[in-house]
C-alpha cells in the first residue's frame, strides 16, 4: 500500500510493520520518530497524519493508506531549517534530543492551529510530549519566539 511520507509516495507493507512507527523506522529508515514507551505515554514517536498529531506507536499502518504523514525529517527543506527548528537551536531547546522530533511536530501543529498561543495554551498543547531532561522552559521560549516573529509557516 502507499503512504505519502513527507510529500513522497512510499510503498509500505503493513503486514511486516503493524504500527506506523515500525513502518517509518524499519521499512523507510526514518528514525526521527523515536520509540520511548510503545504505549502512547511519552510522545517521542509523535508524527502528523493528515495534519493531525498522532502517536505513531499507537497508529495502525493499515489505517494510513493514501494518507499524508509528516515526520521531523519533513520539516526542513534540504539543509534549510524550518523557523521552529532554528528557534529550537537558538534557544537551546534540545538537551539529549531524544524527544525533540516529537516536540517539534507538536509545536508545529500548535502554531498552525493557534499562531499566537498564550503560555497556558502552549503548556496544555505540549503536555503530551515528555522531556526527561527538563528542557520545557526553553521549548516554551522557542515556540514563543516563532509565534512572536509571526512567521507564516512554523
Amino acid at each position: 500500500m502507499l503512504i505519502t511520507i513527507n510529500g513522497s509516495p512510499r510503498q509500505v507493507d503493513p503486514s511486516r510493520s503493524p504500527t506506523l512507527l515500525a513502518a517509518l523506522r524499519d521499512q523507510l529508515g526514518l528514525t526521527g520518530p523515536k520509540l520511548g514507551c510503545d504505549h502512547g505515554e511519552c510522545g517521542a514517536c509523535t508524527v502528523r497524519l493528515d495534519g493531525d498529531l498522532v502517536y505513531a506507536c499507537l497508529t495502525l499502518t493499515a489505517a494510513c493508506e493514501n494518507a499524508q504523514v509528516q515526520t521531523v525529517e519533513g520539516l526542513a527543506e534540504g539543509n534549510t531549517l524550518a523557523p521552529l527548528q532554528q528557534a529550537f537551536i537558538t534557544h537551546d531547546a534540545a538537551q539529549c534530543g531524544y524527544c525533540t522530533p516529537g516536540q517539534l511536530l507538536a509545536a508545529a501543529a500548535l502554531l498552525e492551529r493557534n499562531p499566537h498561543p498564550t503560555d497556558a495554551e502552549i503548556r496544555t498543547a505540549m503536555s503530551g510530549n515528555l522531556c526527561r531532561c527538563g528542557t520545557y522552559p526553553k521549548i516554551i521560549n522557542a515556540i514563543r519566539a516563532v509565534s512572536d516573529a509571526g512567521t507564516a509557516a512554523p
Binding site: T31, Y98, R132
Partner: protein
C-alpha cells in the same frame, strides 16, 4: 610552562559522594590557572550547542537507530515474581517458531554475565532470552517462553519493614541488612545536652525511577574475534571493561561506541543484561544483534533511587547555633547496590561540632539501585533541610538567617578548606531575586482554600572531578582542530564545552574546532560521565592538550616567520607577533604539510581541598487545602560552581535538575505490590514524570566567578547539584502554607490531606 618528568602520586577523588584514593600521574606540565580576572573570549560565552542541528532534524543516531546489515533482534524474558526457584521452562517451542534464530536459558551464559539464574530474587530478573529476525517475532517468542515458566514461589520482602521483621524471609544469604555504617565527629551526647531546642523527625523518601526517554540498549557485532558494541551509556570505557571481563576477552578486542544517547541520569554506567544478551547471540549466530529494553523492563530493572527512612535529631541554642546533628537511616537498596546514602550531606552542609550518622542498608526482593542524579544527597537533603526548616519555625527564625548562622566555612567532615564556597552569596542573590520575606515578619495567608507558602533549602555536592582523564588536540593540515577525548555527551553539552575550552586555550576560532568523543578504539581514556565530573575532569585535560598543541604551533611559526618565540601568541586562529606580523593557522599548517601537530593533555591530581558546588533554592507553592493538590508557582535557584563554561547550557542543566526535583517532590514514586512483589506502575503513565503543564516559572542562575584552586580551568561540576534542594524547598513552602509539615515524599494529595487531618 616548564616540562618535567611525569611521576606518580596519590590523590583523592570524590565520585557520587564516595571518596576514593587513587594513584595518578602528575602531568608533564600544568598551565597556569584561568582566574576570575583572566580575559577569556570563548569560555564563558554561549555558542550554540554544536550537535543541535542533528537533534532538530532527526539525523542524530541513537543506539536503537543503529541498523547493521542482517541485524537480528533479542528480547529478554523476565521473572514474573519476586522470589522462588525456576522449576520448569520451555525454550524448545519458542526455538521452533518461524523466524526465531536462537534461545538462551539457565546455564547458557558465562558466569561473568550473571544472567539466567535458576534462583529468582526479584521480579524482572532475566531468566531467558530469544533472538529472532524481527522484533515482533522475538517478542512473540518471549511471550511463549514466559507462559511456560514454572516458579516455585518462596516468601519475599519488598519493604524495609518486611525485610527487618523478626521472621523476615532471607533476601540474601549473608543477611538482609548490612552492619550500620557509623560516622561521627565531636560528642553528640554533649551537643544534645547543651541544646536549648531539639527537634526530632522521621522522614521517608520514595523509590524514584530514572525514566530516561531512551531505554537501555545495545547493538553488538562480531568481526572474527573482535566485538563492536554500540551502547547508550555514560561510560564507554566502563562498558568495555565490563564486557571484556564478563566474556573473558582482552579489552583490545572490544570496541564501544556511543554517539547520541537519550538521557542517562546515573542509570547507564556500565554494561547490562541487554549488552551481554546481544553480544552472546551475535557471537553464536554470526550476525549483528540489537537488544533494547522495552519500557516495562526499563522501569522494572534498570536502576532506581532507593527509598530511605531517616530519623533525624537536630539540636541548637536559642540563637540558632547548631549543637548536634544525628541521623539514623535505613536504605532498602533492592537486591544489590552500593551505599550512596543520605548521611554525607549531614557532615558537610553546616558547621556543627557534633555530628553522628548511622546508615543501615537493607536488601529487599526488588531490582538493585543505581546512582540517580545526586544519589544520597537528594534523599539526605530532604531530611536535613526539612529538619532545619522545622528548627527555624521552632526558634521563630528566618530559615535563611538560621542557615547563614551555621554556614560551613570549611569542610568539617574531611577537615580541610574549600577551594571556593560562596553559598552566602547564593542566599543573598536568591533572596533578592525571589523578594524573600522572612516568614517571621510575613502577614498570614488570607483565609481561603488556596494557601500560598514560601520555602528555602540549600545544597552541597562534591564536584571536583579528577584524574585519570586524557585528551589529544590535533591540528589538521588546514589549521582546523580536532579535540579527541573518550568521554560522552549525555545531552549535557560536553561536545560543545570541550570545543570551547580547546578553542580558548589554542587561540582558535570556535567554529574551526570539533570535539570527537564516544569511541574506545580511537580516543584516549576518560572516566564515566557521572558525579558531575566531566567538565572538571576532562576540561583541564583538553586545555592542557590545547596548550601543548599551541606551543608546538608557536615553535613552528617562530621558525617559519624568523621571529623569536617570546614575541608570538595566538588569536582568532592566527599566530600574531608583538610587531603586528600575522600568519593564519591554515597557512602555517599548509606549509608544514603532513607534519602533524598533536597536543597531549591529562588531568592532574586534585588539590588538598574540598571542591564543592553549592546553592540555594527558593520555592513558592499554592496548596489547595481541600483537595491536597500542590502547585509549584515559581522556583528561584542560585548556585556557585566556579567558572561557567557556557551559561546557556549550564542554565539548561539547572532547569533539568529543578524539574526532576519537582517530579520527585510531587508525584514520582515506584509502587511495588507487597503481595506479589511486582512493580505496579512500570510505565510512563502511572509513573508520572513532570510534563510541560507541571512546571513553574524558573529563575535559575550561577554566580559569576571562577575557582582556580579547584583546577586550572576554574570550573566545577553542575549537573547534579540543582536537583538536591528542590524537593526540600517545595516541602518547606508546603509547610509554610499549611502550618503542617509533610515528612514523606512525594507530596501527593493524600499525604497532604493526611498531614492536615492529624
Amino acid at each position: 610552562m616548564s616540562r618535567e618528568r611525569t611521576r606518580f602520586v596519590q590523590t583523592t577523588v570524590e565520585v557520587e559522594g564516595r571518596t576514593e584514593t587513587r594513584v595518578v600521574e602528575v602531568p608533564a606540565f600544568e598551565p597556569a590557572p584561568w582566574t576570575a580576572d583572566t580575559p577569556l573570549s570563548i569560555v564563558g560565552t554561549s555558542p550554540l550547542r554544536v550537535d543541535a542541528f542533528e537533534k532538530v532534524t532527526g539525523r542524530a543516531r541513537y543506539t536503537a537507530d543503529i541498523v547493521r546489515p542482517g541485524m537480528l533482534y533479542a528480547v529478554i524474558v523476565r521473572a514474573p515474581r519476586a522470589k522462588g526457584t525456576l522449576t520448569a521452562i520451555d525454550l524448545e517451542t519458542a526455538r521452533s517458531l518461524p523466524g526465531v534464530r536462537a534461545v538462551m536459558g539457565i546455564g547458557d551464559a558465562p558466569a561473568g554475565t550473571r544472567l539466567f539464574k535458576r534462583e529468582v530474587s526479584y521480579a524482572g530478573q532475566p531468566l531467558a532470552a530469544v533472538c529472532a529476525e524481527s522484533l515482533d517475532t522475538a517478542e512473540r517468542a518471549a511471550r511463549v517462553i514466559a507462559a511456560s515458566l514454572v516458579i516455585e514461589a518462596a516468601p519475599h520482602a519488598v519493604t524495609v519493614d518486611d525485610a527487618i521483621a523478626p521472621d523476615a524471609p532471607q533476601v540474601r544469604k549473608a543477611g538482609n541488612t548490612t552492619e550500620p555504617d557509623i560516622v561521627q565527629r565531636g560528642d553528640v551526647a554533649r551537643g544534645l545536652a547543651e541544646a536549648e531546642v531539639t527537634i526530632t523527625r522521621e522522614y521517608r523518601t520514595q523509590v524514584a525511577l530514572h525514566s530516561a526517554l531512551e531505554t537501555h540498549g545495545a547493538v553488538c557485532e562480531w568481526n572474527d574475534d573482535q566485538l563492536t558494541v554500540w551502547e547508550s551509556t555514560q561510560g564507554i570505557f566502563r562498558v568495555r571493561s565490563d564486557v571484556a571481563k564478563a566474556l573473558g576477552l582482552p579489552q583490545a578486542k572490544v570496541r564501544v561506541i556511543k554517539d547520541y544517547m537519550g538521557g542517562g541520569f546515573g542509570a547507564k554506567n556500565g554494561a547490562g543484561a541487554h549488552t551481554y544478551t546481544a553480544a552472546l547471540f551475535a557471537r553464536t549466530l554470526g550476525a549483528p544483534v540489537r537488544c533494547v529494553n522495552d519500557r516495562r523492563a526499563e522501569q522494572t530493572d534498570s536502576g532506581n533511587r532507593p527509598a530511605t527512612v531517616q530519623k533525624v535529631t537536630i539540636a541548637a541554642r536559642k540563637d540558632g547555633t547548631l549543637t548536634a546533628l544525628v541521623l539514623d537511616a535505613r536504605i532498602p537498596l533492592g537486591i544489590s547496590g552500593w551505599e550512596g546514602g543520605p548521611a554525607q550531606i549531614f557532615h558537610e552542609m553546616y558547621a556543627c561540632p557534633n555530628v553522628r550518622t548511622s546508615e543501615t542498608c537493607v536488601y529487599i526482593n526488588a531490582s538493585g539501585m543505581q546512582a540517580f542524579r545526586g544519589p544520597g544527597y537528594v534523599e539526605g537533603a530532604f531530611a536535613l533541610e526539612g529538619a532545619m526548616n522545622a528548627l527555624a519555625r521552632a526558634l521563630q527564625m528566618d530559615p535563611v538567617v538560621l542557615r547563614l548562622k551555621n554556614l560551613a566555612t570549611r569542610d568539617e567532615r574531611a577537615d580541610r578548606e574549600f577551594s571556593g564556597n560562596r553559598l552566602d552569596e547564593c542566599y543573598a542573590e536568591g533572596m533578592r531575586r525571589f523578594s524573600w520575606h522572612s516568614p517571621v515578619s510575613r502577614l498570614p495567608s488570607p483565609v481561603s482554600r488556596l494557601k500560598r507558602g514560601y520555602g528555602v533549602a540549600a545544597q552541597t555536592w562534591p564536584t571536583g572531578g579528577g584524574p585519570p582523564s586524557y585528551a589529544h588536540v590535533r591540528i589538521n593540515s588546514d589549521g582546523s582542530v580536532d579535540v579527541l577525548a573518550g568521554t560522552q555527551d549525555l545531552g549535557t553539552g560536553s561536545r560543545t564545552i570541550l570545543a570551547q575550552i580547546a578553542a580558548e586555550a589554542l587561540g582558535a576560532r570556535f567554529d574551526t574546532v570539533r570535539a570527537v568523543i564516544g569511541d574506545t578504539e580511537r580516543l584516549p581514556y576518560t572516566g564515566n560521565s557521572w558525579g558531575s565530573m566531566t567538565t572538571p575532569s576532562v576540561g583541564p585535560a583538553v586545555r592542557m592538550a590545547a596548550e601543548d598543541a599551541k606551543m608546538q604551533l608557536l615553535e613552528a611559526a617562530a621558525q617559519m616567520m624568523g621571529l623569536p618565540l617570546v614575541v608570538l601568541s595566538t588569536r582568532d586562529s592566527h599566530i600574531v607577533s608583538t610587531d603586528g606580523a600575522s600568519l593564519s593557522f591554515g597557512d602555517l599548517c599548509r606549509q608544514l604539510g603532513n607534519i602533524q601537530i598533536v597536543g597531549r593533555g591529562s588531568r592532574g591530581p586534585n588539590p588538598e581541598l574540598a571542591v564543592v558546588t553549592v546553592g540555594a533554592q527558593f520555592a513558592e507553592v499554592e496548596v489547595d487545602a481541600e483537595t491536597g493538590v500542590v502547585r509549584v508557582v515559581r522556583v528561584v535557584a542560585v548556585h556557585d560552581a566556579g567558572r561557567i563554561i557556557n551559561p546557556a547550557l549550564a542554565e539548561s542543566q539547572l532547569h533539568g535538575g529543578i524539574i526532576q526535583g519537582i517530579g520527585y517532590a510531587l508525584f514520582e514514586e515506584r509502587h511495588i505490590d507487597r503481595a506479589r512483589g511486582v512493580t505496579l506502575n512500570a510505565n510512563l503513565h502511572d509513573y508520572m514524570i513532570p510534563t510541560m503543564a507541571d512546571i513553574p516559572a524558573i529563575d535559575a542562575s550561577f554566580l559569576d566567578g571562577a575557582d582556580p584552586a579547584a583546577n586550572h580551568v576554574g570550573a566545577r561540576g553542575i549537573a547534579e547539584p540543582p536537583i538536591i534542594p528542590t524537593a526540600p524547598a517545595i516541602a518547606a513552602a508546603v509547610a509554610d502554607a499549611l502550618g503542617v509539615e509533610v515528612c514523606a515524599l512525594p507530596l501527593t494529595p493524600w499525604r497532604v490531606l493526611g498531614a492536615l487531618a492529624e
